[in-house]
């Protein structure tokens, strides 16, 4: 027991060891302790999906986890999607389809879509619409996001585009 705890985890392939406040959320940890500010906070109560990251292969809301709960976990965040300058197919498709405007919700959508396409690599539009229904975008009206995920699906098997 303590109000602080040592945390070991791997984020985007890099191992970290940090002393954290036990009450700190995983989202705040990523943003403030690791300076991975691509994970955004839109509501901090698990509705908007902007803070979605992939933990041990599953898309989760990082605002609904304590950082200490990620002990030993492997995380993927939006910063880990591209391979150097090579965009992930989803990233490229989001730009192609103008699937973002202000860009604030975009990391959450990208991580949701990454996890979704791993499970369902050839989804219908209706399945995509359903899959992203837990992420809120205030700018695009969703349609270009659905188009972008559909466009990326054939090549988005978790690997950057050649």
């Amino acid at each position: 027991m303590s109000t602080k705890s040592i945390l070991n985890l791997t984020v985007n392939g890099k191992a970290y060891e940090k002393l954290v406040e036990v009450r700190m959320t995983l989202a705040d940890f990523l943003r403030n302790e690791l300076d991975l500010t691509g994970t955004h906070l839109g509501c901090e109560h698990g509705v908007c999906g902007a803070c979605t990251v992939i933990m041990d292969g599953e898309a989760v809301r990082s605002c609904l986890l304590l950082a200490v709960q990620a002990e030993g976990a492997t995380l993927e965040t939006v910063e880990g999607l591209a391979d150097g300058d090579r965009l992930h197919p989803l990233q490229a498709a989001f730009q192609d389809r103008h699937a973002l405007q202000c860009g604030f919700c975009t990391p959450g959508f990208l991580m949701t879509a990454t996890a979704f396409l791993k499970e369902n690599p050839s989804p219908t539009d209706a399945e995509i619409r359903e899959a992203i229904s837990g992420n809120i975008c205030r700018c695009t009206g969703y349609q270009p996001i659905i188009e972008a995920i559909g466009q990326a699906a054939p090549e988005a098997g978790g690997k950057p585009r050649e």
Partner: protein, 293 residues
């Protein structure tokens, strides 16, 4: 919107967990999937001084067959694990159909069966379904185990029979009866939202007539609401239009819901009846096909 300070414990065994709860009494709070409880903490609507995180306690998850052909579901089983269980639709189609209605997949990835049941949101699917299925909850404390039926577990608005020193460890779901008709339906403002009104029901048939039935509504009171008068009306009757209309009327009359910002009490009464009628019709039309046993 940040949680108030607390002490954090992350036990690895159930013994450790329950002794921590014993030690901290009412100050202690169990954290499971956190999908409902973390928002309450961040909003500082909940301010436990001690958190006992169950996520690393071994042996609390998994879906197993219990002796009588039913299911023993570990309380820490993620909702997503139920959703992905290819056997579940055959073993308990009503439960299988309820799970995808919970939140969104990111929530189900983390949310646990036990967490939803203990959180006891009156509009949540799982409490109503466990009541409808006649499930039993195993509550474990340092002093041992006790078993409480789902029906007895829910005591009113977000109130349950669990004590501060207890952990819900297992959900025992009786065997699914061969040929049972079932349906679950809900109306929510948006997909994934808690229901304004929902119904989970089953009916066992004896030929064309209903031999036994259970009708449980959610979102219409402080806890899951079983409408026994409507169940009685079904018994011995065919699921024809006249009966269904009658059941609709009874359900509407029996419900005593509250109004909130999403729907009035009148709306909930009316739509509770409508959904019950529609669910019964859907159950009858689907018949026993794809019905497990």
């Amino acid at each position: 919107m940040k949680p108030a300070p607390f002490e954090y414990y992350c036990p690895e065994t159930l013994d450790e967990a329950v002794s921590l709860l014993e030690q901290h009494g009412d100050d202690g709070k169990v954290l499971a999937g956190g999908q409902s409880f973390m928002p309450l903490m961040s909003l500082r609507l909940a301010r436990p001084s001690v958190i006992v995180d169950l996520n690393r306690v071994s042996g609390l998850d998994g879906i197993a067959a219990n002796g009588d052909g039913g299911l023993a579901i570990g309380a820490l089983t993620r909702q997503r694990a139920l959703e992905r269980d290819a056997e579940l639709p055959a073993r308990n189609p009503l439960l299988a159909a309820a799970v995808p209605l919970i939140g969104h997949f990111q929530i189900r990835n983390r949310g646990t069966v036990g967490g939803s049941l203990v959180h006891a949101d009156p509009a949540a699917e799982l409490p109503a379904v466990t009541v409808a299925l006649g499930a039993d909850f195993v509550l474990t404390s340092a002093g041992g185990e006790r078993v409480v039926s789902a029906a007895d577990f829910y005591l009113g608005y977000m109130a349950t029979a669990i004590e501060a020193n207890e952990v819900l460890t297992e959900i025992r779901v009786p065997a699914w009866k061969a040929g049972r008709l079932w349906a679950i339906d809900e109306v929510s403002r948006r997909k994934g939202d808690f229901a304004m009104v929902g119904v989970a029901l089953w009916a066992d048939m004896d030929g064309a007539n209903c031999a036994d039935a259970c009708i449980t509504l959610f979102g219409v009171g402080g806890e899951p609401v079983r409408v026994e008068k409507a169940e009685q009306r079904l018994k011995g009757a065919a699921l024809d239009d006249a009966t269904l209309k009658e059941v609709e009327r009874i359900v509407s009359e029996e419900l005593e819901p509250d109004s909130d910002i999403h729907a009035s009490a009148l709306y909930r009464r009316e739509v509770g009846g409508v959904l019950t009628r529609r669910a019964l019709r859907a159950a009858a039309e689907r018949g026993t096909e794809g019905n497990g046993a």
